[in-house]
Amino acid sequence: MVQLCCPWCGPRPGNEFSCGGTTGIARPPLECSDEEWARYLFLRQNPKGEHAERWRHGYGCGQWFNVLRDTVSHEVRAVYGIAEPRPGAGSSP
């Protein structure tokens, strides 16, 4: 079980949180094509390594936030606000 550092409550055990999957997926407008909508609904990257995902501190403050986590080592690289950009995203190629 991982330990996450909730931005509001501090370090807490993983079973207080629930994972909401990949974060920062732009929701296409109503006018988008069926293909684009299907991509939004069903297609995910599932990377081996760094993954930006959203978590909710359900048995705590109830707030959603973003986590940059290594899916192999489970190392948490960063915790950031739900509306904030992925750290280091601007500099990566």
């Binding site: 079980m1 055990p13 909401g20 988008c32």
Partner: protein, 930 residues
């Protein structure tokens, strides 16, 4: 082997003033407080205590700790029985009942022992080779039954279990010399230290407590997980049988020591062959001599230490047989040492009677009379926890060990488990020239006698050689093909020997063969321990309504509905649930009924953007509601699938009361929050789930207002003044209430929301006042009958994970709706607009009598055939006098009046597609005009 109890004061852990008796395999065994079942059995001279898993060969106690591969017992009776438990870890206790887990009908006469006769036919992989034609599944049940060890409990476990969760600065795992030193150093430097020791005794307990270290014994850490999490199982005794620990530590020091590795020689599984360190521990801890004449077979110096200790304890050591030419340790005076020699044969089947030894270089054989062989083949650092935490291992050729390769973040290994045997309390020195496989390799191909590598999985050196010959070179293949290391002991004494052998067979070093990563648990843990007391009713406690006692007093039959304990019906004497529900439904249709709807989800949505937010959430438009108005709405997920429904009422311009289904209260609030926080962060809205703060008393029936009027409710609530689907705030008896005129049963209905603690008082008041009006309580079953009569949708009953709004006839107005809403885009997909989609329709049996079975499928011919639909709701309607049903049917709304066949368990029932509602199609009754 004929073990016996040494004279006092031998045995530091036992209390000779407290003798006890327990039963093993139906025979009485004597022991003392502090004994394990294994030590008492050894003291009583019980050589054979079990049969092996596959070949059912006689086996004796082999080790003195959790690595025990042989002595697996079923402990306790009935619900308390725990199968497959190591005798070395069971405390001997007065009246304890235990039996061998793998012998039927008994140890001495074991029918499956015939396997041993045909051992040549049962080599590695024989299951896969022999039982493939025509199909493995034909053989599997019999093989599984034969392969099983132990019998599971046949009743619920009456014992109590509990769980603790801790956060600590430093966790030290293991209270041996290295762990104790690490704990003392850290505590003296001011750290908060928790030390867990698996055995019942902690040598330095006083010093540790003086230094402020919190210590617990009988507490085995069985897993190391992410981010410093450790899990441990503790045998408690007394009121609590076992306790689960979950510990989050900033730093963890693993000091789990090392396991001794057995020597490999023919018939090295005979009862009486034991690990040398175990023979020594039985003497020290329990005052037990494991035999009258002991031969030490060794390939390292620790065998000499064992011999020294045994001689000092007054036990006769016949000889030391050393595989090496030189040793760095002294033999005890008077004990013969045979260098560069190995055991080539063991006499005795059910107990060791003697050994034959021979020089490795060849030469004269030599027989020695002995009843116990102490086997010292070197040491295997207990890197299990380190490996679980993700640590990589490094092979040290000079001492034939895998040791931790690197430090892990927050995890340090110390002492023997780090490969460091240099401390003062060292269990033994592993010399540079140690080669545990040499003897085994030398003996390969010699007859008779099997050289066992893995005692518990019955894997021999020959099996490993066969796997190598057949090309199973990878460690993963070796493990799966031979099953070595796969038994409940996870190869604690066998893994390294198997890897060394495989390496020798394929001309590779053991690190080239590689190791498999260890997995939790370190040793078997009972499911009840993992549950930690959260079993039975405590697994998922049911919620109780505020009026629970009132319903119980009315004779309610309680059932679980969506996590709540609710009245299904209130059966009178002689009534079953269905009869009672039908009587209650009729009573509501003709008089008045009282129903508690407190579990109904209640969420307040407040803020300047509340109306716009609800427009985004619901299929319908909520922003156009007038204050005091209420509207039914469907909630969809992003796939356009219906996931909840309910009524939304407007309490103020920026204040809404959202009702959800009883089961959906939590997931709707969660969905609102997720959308609000993650997608619509600019909306100024507060979502406040208030389900348990408010009780709900629903009054339904033609006399509903009469009852409320008689109870003294405000005349503003009268049907003439308050329209259907409106919401009023009122005060009753000084308590502020919210009253919604709505109806799920089709009669005049009031849903009175009130502070939960007042629920019971209102139920009481309505009950007293309503006696003259024919009031009756009604349960969930009666409500389901009535809503089916009305054709009202039950989300989760009539709908499933594919149902779209159009499928249930609720897509009116979607095209014209201005706002986007969750799921809208998915409704535009071609599949969502397919005219062949299933639609919700009414169904009536042709004969007017047969209740259509829920789940029955509609098909033109006997299934297997294309399915056109299925029945989702079905009841006998007491007010109509015939059964009514709802179902999903392909293109159903265009087929009203058509005949369909419902198939159920091979039976065909003729039915007709019908329009809903079945009852009061004009909907006049809900205005109180009926």
């Amino acid at each position: 082997m004929s073990g016996y109890r040494l004279a006092a004061p031998a045995g530091a852990w036992i209390d000779r003033n407290r003798p006890l008796r327990f039963s093993f395999d139906g025979r009485p065994v004597q022991g003392f407080a502090g004994d394990t079942v294994a030590s008492a059995l050894l003291a009583g001279g019980h050589a054979m205590v079990a049969r092996s898993t596959k070949l059912h060969r006689p086996r004796g106690v082999f080790a003195c700790g959790p690595e025990e591969p042989n002595a697996l017992l079923d402990v306790g009776l009935h619900g308390e029985r725990t199968p497959n438990t190591r005798a070395t870890e069971i405390d001997a206790a007065e009246g304890l009942v235990c039996r061998p887990g793998n012998a039927w009908p008994g140890l001495k006469l074991d029918i499956a022992a015939l396997n041993a006769r045909y051992a040549a036919l049962l080599p590695a992989g024989f299951y896969y080779k022999t039982f493939m034609k025509p199909h493995w599944h034909l053989y599997e049940p019999v093989i599984r039954a034969l392969a099983g060890t132990g019998r599971a409990a046949d009743a619920p476990d009456p014992a109590r279990y509990d769980a603790v969760s801790r956060q600590v600065e430093l966790l030290v795992i293991g209270g041996g010399a290295a762990g104790t030193q690490a704990a003392l150093d850290a505590a003296r430097a001011g750290a908060q230290v928790l030390l867990l020791e698996a055995s019942p005794q902690l040598a330095a307990a006083d010093a540790l407590r003086d230094a402020g270290v919190e210590c617990h014994t009988r507490c085995t850490v069985f897993g190391l997980y992410d981010h410093g999490l450790a899990a441990a199982a503790q045998g408690v005794g007394g009121a609590v049988r076992e306790r689960l620990w979950t510990i989050r530590a900033r730093r963890t020091i693993v000091a789990t020591g090392a396991f001794e590795r057995p020597m490999l020689f023919p018939d090295n599984d005979r009862p009486g062959v034991m690990l040398a360190g175990a023979v020594e521990q039985y003497a020290r801890r329990y005052g037990v001599a494991c035999g009258r004449r002991i031969v030490v077979a060794t390939a390292c110096d620790s065998g000499y230490r064992t011999a020294q200790a045994l001689v000092a304890a007054g036990i006769d050591v016949a000889a030391i047989v050393d595989a090496r030419e030189r040793s760095g340790a002294e033999a005890p005076a008077g004990v013969a040492v045979h260098r560069a020699s190995t055991i080539v044969a063991v006499a005795g089947k059910r107990a060791v009677q003697g050994v034959t030894i021979a020089p490795q270089a060849g030469g004269a054989r030599h027989e020695i009379e002995a009843d116990c062989i102490a086997s010292a083949g070197g040491w295997t650092p207990a890197v299990n926890l380190y490996s679980m935490a993700g640590g990589k291992l490094r092979w040290v050729a000079e001492s034939s060990m895998f040791v931790p390769a690197t430090e892990l973040p927050g995890i340090t290994t110390v002492g023997a488990c780090a490969g460091d045997f240099g401390a003062a309390h060292s269990p033994g020195v592993v010399p540079a020239d140690h080669r545990p496989s040499r003897a085994a390799l030398a003996s390969l191909g010699r007859k008779p006698g099997k050289v066992f590598v893995d005692l518990q999985a019955d894997v021999s050196a020959g099996d490993v050689a066969l796997a190598a010959r057949e090309g199973y070179r990878s460690v993963e293949h070796l493990k799966r093909y031979t099953t070595t290391g796969m038994a409940t002991d996870q190869g604690k004494t066998s893994n390294v020997n198997a890897l060394v052998l495989m390496g020798a067979q394929t001309k590779r070093t053991p690190d080239q063969v590689g190791t498999t990563r260890f997995r939790p648990p370190f040793k078997p843990v009972t499911l009840n321990t993992i549950a930690g007391g959260r079993s039975g009713e405590r697994f998922k406690p049911l919620k109780r309504m505020p009026g629970h006692a009132w319903h119980a007093a009315r004779g309610a039959a309680m059932e679980e509905f969506g996590g709540w304990l609710r009245p299904a019906a209130y059966p009178r004497a002689g009534e079953d649930l269905v009869t009672a529900a039908e009587r209650e439904a009729l009573q509501v249709r003709t008089e008045v009924g009282v129903f508690e709807g407190s579990p109904l989800g209640k969420i307040e949505v407040i803020g300047p953007d509340a109306a716009g937010f609800l427009d985004l959430m619901y299929v319908g438009t909520m922003s156009t509601l007038a204050v005091g108005g209420a509207r039914y709405g469907l909630l969809l997920n992003e796939n356009g699938v219906i996931f909840d429904d309910g009524i939304v009422g407007r309490l103020g311009p920026e204040h809404f009361l959202v009702n959800t289904t009883s089961g959906g209260a939590e997931r709707v609030a969660l969905a609102f929050e997720e959308w609000l926080q993650c997608e619509y962060g600019d909306h100024r809205v507060l979502v406040a789930p208030v389900t348990s703060a408010w009780g709900n008393v629903t009054v339904s029936g033609p006399k509903a207002w009469q009852l409320l009027q008689a109870a003294g409710f405000d005349a503003a609530l009268a049907p003439a003044a308050m329209k259907h689907m409106t919401l009023r705030e009122c005060s009753y008896g000084g308590v502020a209430m919210r009253v919604l005129r709505a109806s799920f049963c089709g009669e005049l209905g009031y849903e009175i929301n009130l502070p939960a603690p007042h629920t019971q008082a209102l139920l009481d008041r309505l009950w007293v006042v309503g006696q003259g009006l024919g009031v009756a309580p009604y349960g969930v079953e009666a409500l389901m009958i009535m809503r089916t009569e009305k054709g009202f949708l039950h989300v989760g009953g009539d709908t499933d994970g594919t149902t779209l709004p159009g499928d249930v006839g609720m897509d009116r107005g979607i095209a014209a709706k201005a706002a986007n809403f969750v799921g809208r885009r998915s409704l535009l997909r071609p599949a969502a607009r397919d005219p062949r989609r299933m639609q919700l329709v009414g169904l009536l049996p042709r004969d007017g009598r047969t209740r259509l079975p829920v789940g029955g499928h509609m098909a033109a011919s006997r299934p297997p055939a294309p399915i056109e639909g299925f029945v989702t709701s079905s009841h006998h309607s007491p007010v109509l006098g015939h059964p009514v049903a709802l179902g999903m049917l392909a293109n159903g709304r265009a087929r009203i009046g058509e005949a369909v066949t419902v198939w159920h368990l091979g039976r065909a029932i003729e039915a007709e597609v019908a329009k809903t509602p079945f009852y009061d199609p004009a909907g006049e009754r809900l205005h109180g005009l009926g």
